[in-house]
């Protein structure tokens, strides 16, 4: 079963329910397909003078529909936060948002009559396309990440992962007591220099390469064979603990990576949506005043 399947089917849990993509047996997907097909057919069959563009009656109609749709699409941000009583359901909103939002690709394009240029109109259009593309990314992450995140976390919460790491640090400090000062310094550095949440890009790649723990581990492993006899046992202990910490760090970083991925796209989607709104206002104002 692919990850996407679990959203289109009622997932493999024994309790029947639908995810946002399948909501009400694809009600909004169906609606979006119907709207798109109808508007294409009308586009092909109505004869407008001189040719299809935003200024014909059909262009106006599609433009108005698209604009209203965009305004409504933006309202999901409000709906999500204004928790009022009533028979609404954010899952239904998301479902409609995704499918109807995608149908804009058809509606707005037909509105333009494929008349693109270097102007504010096409700017609005381009922004819209980017918003929609980022939306698709979002849907992809929403559909694939949660399952992997659940696997990775192995039934711990983020807070529990972090506490576990901190308690390993304590064990490290204790285990380092019998070592020579040089090693102790190494261990202490590994503790203080290890950043669980590095910069954005390291976080997205979830790499351990530049992690101080990995480095310390590598150096200790290198130094161990030549260490004095009585240092070997404690060094091995230290390395075992460092290994455990490393594994835990990897899990935690992966977790952070997933959480980042689940939110990062929104940082494109939402600002672009506002930019789109602004460009759209400019577009509409300009066509009324300067056309």
């Amino acid at each position: 079963m692919t990850a996407l399947d679990s959203h289109t089917q009622s997932s493999d849990t024994p309790i029947r329910h639908e995810g946002f993509l399948r909501h009400k047996r694809y009600r909004y997907l169906k609606a979006a397909v119907v709207i798109s097909i109808v508007s294409i057919i009308v586009y092909l069959f109505v004869d407008v003078e001189p040719r299809h563009n935003g200024g014909t009656w059909y262009g106006y109609t599609l433009g108005t529909i698209s604009t209203l749709l965009i305004v409504w699409l933006m309202l999901i941000g409000l709906r999500k936060r204004a928790i009022t009583p009533g028979h609404w359901n954010l899952k239904g909103w998301t479902s409609a948002h995704v499918y109807l939002g995608a149908s804009l690709l058809v509606l707005a394009t037909l509105h333009t009559g494929f008349q693109f240029g270097l102007n504010v109109h096409t700017l609005a259009y381009t922004l819209m396309v980017f918003v929609i593309i980022s939306g698709f990314y979002g849907v992809y992450f929403y559909a694939t990440t949660p399952r992997r995140m659940s696997d990775n976390r192995a039934q711990r919460s983020q807070a529990e992962l972090l506490t576990a790491i901190r308690s390993i640090d304590r064990q490290l400090r204790e285990a380092a007591q019998p070592l020579d000062p040089a090693y102790v310094r190494e261990v202490k550095r590994a503790i203080s220099k290890t950043k669980i949440r590095p910069g954005l890009f390291t976080s997205i790649s979830a790499t351990q390469k530049r992690c101080a723990t990995t480095h310390a581990l590598k150096r200790l492993r290198h130094a161990a064979p030549s260490a004095p006899e009585e240092m070997r046992r404690p060094l091995e202990d230290i390395m075992a603990i460092l290994e455990r910490k490393n594994a835990l760090l990897l899990r935690t970083r992966r977790h952070i990576r997933f959480t980042t991925l689940l939110r990062l796209w929104l940082h494109f989607h939402v600002p672009l949506a506002f930019a789109l709104l602004a460009a759209l206002v400019a577009h509409i104002v300009s066509v009324f005043f300067f056309w």
Binding site: A3, S6, H7, S11, D12, T13, P14, I15, R16, H17, E18, G19, F20, H23, L78, K80, R81, A82, I83, P85, G86, H87, W88, N89, L90, K91, W93, T94, F141, Y142, T145, P146, R147, M149, S150, Q155, S157, Q158, A159, E160, T163, A164, R166, S167, I168, D169, R170, Q171, T259, L262
Partner: protein, 836 residues
């Protein structure tokens, strides 16, 4: 406090002084009694074990807001009391004791009471004695904490209480006792690694049978994370010197791997408390029964079975401060001979009977009801008064509905006058069975925790008494006669309800006479696959899972709710059990004799048909499983293990409605928590991340709305109820005692204060004013609450968004549909093939 300690500690066994009344215990009850005695000029002494008045209240956490419920009940005491902070009340009582010149003797632990009216001898722990004509016992129910008896137990760093775990740094701490208190202390001390405490918990038993599951899991997790350690099957041998360097003391512990020596800077012993019962019984006082819930037998004037020895307050079964204080006042009046004094609740009870067609005094009503209603025969007048205060009277015209089928409700109804008709067939309103005056109904819902099974209408003008669930349970627990009569009646009704339509009353009678109630532990099997037996079982309370061995594995077949029966299959399989049936949670079953059924099956064709229908359906499930087994066995396995996870581990088998999160859909946005806080005054009632996961099903920490809510068990003001949609909710009578938080095995109740009001959503969106949607951060709350206003911390839990249009906000606000609420019906037959 002036500390009017009369007698200097004389040492040895000297006779101190003689008083008319000796009052033991200076809680609200004892204090109020002493105040009355002082005001009346009666010679008295108030004896208090600790070094301050009212130890129970003294031990409340600092700043706790104390409630003065019930509001309608007038206060009748010489000492003032109104809602306020712990400190203000303690001050006021100390001042009151001074002003009234109460004769207090602190540090006076009474260890025995002997004698009788006119000549009681009270012995103190230091060996001195006091004599008195009357004794008022007001020692509450806190009891004495069990002490460490091993050598070293008297060292100064051995303590029995932990007020603030944040006060301890870099210490080796040994916590003794694996009950909830011990576990919570250990977790608290180890919660913050920065504190650097090395905590080890010692538990004598092999597991943690007395602690709640949430705590045990947290403990295991903490050990897996290396935050603390615990040793089971371990007992302390002694505490001795011998450590090295900074830690001179070690605790020597006997473990199953031999002796262990643990460095210890501090020992926290949480060994439970010995309930005061033994002490009270030693004075000759009789209790209503052997159960833990039993109370001393008392007259309407609080006099125990020992003449001249009176018992009041929490020990007498009245857990609220106001009750205690009123009783303190009254008991001294009674002793002084003012026996006509009406208890302060009399006006409230008069109100209860205001609308009755006949006029009777409250005492006459008490008598009329007690003698009229069969199950109440053994209830004392004092207990009558207590449960009547929370009961309601109803007056119904002919044909008026009293309860509807499928209503939520677990109160019982006693028919005082008139009679009712029970509609036994939902499809035919004409088919009814009468219940006459003096009997009760509604007990099946009380026992099973499930919906009403039939509609009941008045058969003539009828007067009814509705007794709420908790009051009924208290009666059952404390009056053996009520328990006996209720059990008999409910068995009769249950058998009648299931088989009554096809069997003659004679047959039902025969079955009843040979049936018995069997209590079961969670997981205990009462039918074993392959056994030879035809006994039939009715699930009286709780629920059961049916499993079958297929290919060496236990496969989950179905889940049986209270009110249904199992075991009939074997009647059709030559008396052999085809599956194993286990209690999913703590349950009770009624065992019915198999031989009688074997005979009836042969004689009664209608009965045979009824049972065959049931069997045919269960056989289909069996066949389906067998068939599925061939094709995709892993699916069946999966369903079995998921069923076990949900029903048994996560307690959903006792749930009526629980939040579950599909982790293949959850994006971790926490909008469910935000929504819950938004719609409920800023406190989220669920913790999404906490809780267990299995096969991508996550059960967050949030209320399951149990059939028999554990949280209701010990609520002094009776503030927890089940609402019309089945939700378990806490009303504004809550006094914040925290009992429900401790009693809920799933850890879903929190004690929290309502945060200040925040600016609206638009000012936040547009100008960034306020903390935004969801539960505000601690810092924001601290900087925005009004000065010197301490909002009381009260119990907060999920109320299923009852009364909110659209229903549960957590589900509505989930953007992907990961959050769902499920009820037992959703997983009744996970393997039945009803999946599409």
């Amino acid at each position: 406090m002036s500390g009017i300690i009369k007698a200097a500690a004389g040492g040895g066994t000297g006779l101190l002084e003689s008083f008319k009344v000796a009052i033991v215990g200076s809680g609200p009850a004892g204090l109020s009694a002493a105040a009355r005695a002082s005001a009346r000029g009666i010679s008295h002494i108030l004896l208090e074990k600790t070094s301050h008045l009212s130890d129970t209240i003294y031990k409340y956490q600092r700043g706790k807001y104390i409630m003065a419920t019930p509001d309608q009940l007038p206060l009748r005491s010489d000492v003032a009391f109104e809602a306020g902070s712990r400190e203000s009340i303690i001050d006021r009582w100390d001042d009151g004791a001074d002003a009234l010149k109460i004769n207090v003797r602190l540090n006076s632990d009474i260890v025995s009471i002997q004698g009788s009216q006119g000549n009681f001898q009270l012995t103190l722990a230091d060996g001195e004695t006091i004599t008195a004509d009357f004794v008022v016992l007001a020692i509450g129910v806190q009891g004495n904490p069990n002490k460490v008896s091993q050598p070293g137990g008297d060292l100064p760093f051995v303590q029995y209480q932990l007020d603030d775990p944040k006060e301890y740094f870099d210490e080796h701490i040994v916590v003794i006792g694996g009950g909830d208190a011990g576990i919570e202390n250990a977790l608290g001390l180890a919660a913050d690694p920065e504190q650097g405490n090395l905590v080890t918990l010692l538990q004598r038993a092999d597991g943690f049978p007395r602690a709640k599951e949430a705590n045990v899991q947290a403990l295991h997790k903490a050990r897996d994370d290396g935050r603390l350690d615990f040793i089971t099957q371990a007992s302390l041998l002694r505490i001795e010197k011998g450590g090295s360097g900074e830690n001179p003391w070690v605790a020597v512990v006997d473990t199953k791997d031999g002796e262990a020596r643990l460095a210890c800077d501090r020992v926290i012993a949480r060994l439970g408390a010995a309930p005061p019962r033994k002490f009270v019984e030693a004075a000759g006082v009789e209790f209503t029964g052997p159960d833990r819930e039993a109370f001393p037998i008392l007259s309407a004037q609080y006099e125990s079975s020992v003449p001249g020895l009176y018992i009041i307050g929490a020990l007498a079964g009245f857990p609220l401060i106001k009750h205690c204080m009123n009783q303190g006042h009254d008991v001294v009046e009674f002793i002084a001979g003012n026996t006509d004094l009406q208890p302060p609740d009399t006006p409230l009870l008069e109100l209860l009977f205001e609308k009755a067609s006949v006029h009777r005094s409250v005492d006459e009503w008490l008598d009329y009801i007690r003698t009229g209603v069969e199950i109440l025969q053994d209830v004392s007048p004092l207990q009558m008064r207590e449960f009547l205060l929370t009961s309601m009277t109803h007056y119904k015209r002919l044909g008026e509905v009293i309860v509807n089928r499928n209503d939520i409700g677990s109160s019982i109804f006693a028919i005082i006058d008139g009679s009712v008709r029970v509609e036994i067939d939902p499809n035919d309103k004409k088919k009814t069975v009468p219940i006459e005056a003096g009997s009760i109904f509604g007990e099946l819902g009380l026992i099973s925790g499930r919906r009403r099974t039939a509609t009941v209408r008045a058969g003539e003008p009828t007067m009814l008494l509705e007794i709420p669930r908790n009051a009924t349970l208290k009666l059952i627990a404390s009056v053996p006669g009520v328990k006996r009569r209720m059990e008999r009646l409910s068995m009769e009704r249950q058998i009648g309800q299931i088989f009554g339509r096809v069997l003659t009353p004679h047959d039902v009678g025969e079955i009843l006479s040979r049936s018995e109630i069997i209590p079961l532990r969670a997981g205990e099997a009462f039918i074993n696959e392959g056994d030879h037996s035809t006994d039939i079982y009715i699930i009286r309370s709780g629920s059961a899972v049916v499993e079958k061995q297929i290919g060496g594995k236990d496969v989950f077949l179905s889940y049986i709710l209270a009110g249904n029966y199992v075991g009939e299959m074997s009647l059709f399989y030559d008396g052999y059990r085809t599956a194993t049936v286990r209690a999913a949670i703590k349950s009770e079953v009624v065992k019915l004799p198999g031989e009688v059924f074997e005979r009836l099956l042969a004689e009664n064709s209608e009965f045979r048909q009824t049972v065959e229908k049931q069997v045919a359906q269960r056989r289909r499930v069996n066949d389906y499983i067998e068939a599925k087994r061939e094709s995709f066995s892993s699916v069946v396995d999966m369903h079995s293990s998921i069923a076990r996870f949900l029903l048994e581990q996560e307690g959903l088998s006792e749930a009526t409605d629980a939040l579950v999160i599909d982790e293949t859909l959850c994006i971790g946005c926490d909008n469910c928590e935000v929504a819950c806080a938004e719609i409920h005054e800023g406190i989220s009632r669920l913790d999404r991340e906490a809780g267990n996961t299995y096969a991508y099903l996550h059960v967050p920490t949030s209320c399951r709305h149990c059939e028999h809510p554990h949280c209701m068990t010990d609520c002094p003001p009776d503030a927890i109820h089940r609402g019309p949609d089945g939700e378990v909710f806490i009303d504004d009578k809550c006094i914040g005692c925290g009992n429900c938080e401790r009693n809920c095995p799933y850890g879903v109740i929190q004690m929290a204060a309502v945060p200040p009001k925040k600016p609206g959503l638009f000012s936040w969106l547009a100008f960034g004013v306020g903390p935004g949607p969801g539960e505000p951060k601690r810092e924001w709350v601290d900087s925005h609450k009004k000065k010197d206003e301490t909002a009381p911390k009260l119990a907060v839990k999920c109320d299923m968004c009852a009364g909110i249009k659209g229903g549960p906000a957590c589900v509505r606000a989930c953007p992907t549909g990961a959050a769902i609420r499920i009820s037992p019906d959703d997983y009744l037959q996970i393997a039945s093939g009803s999946q599409d």
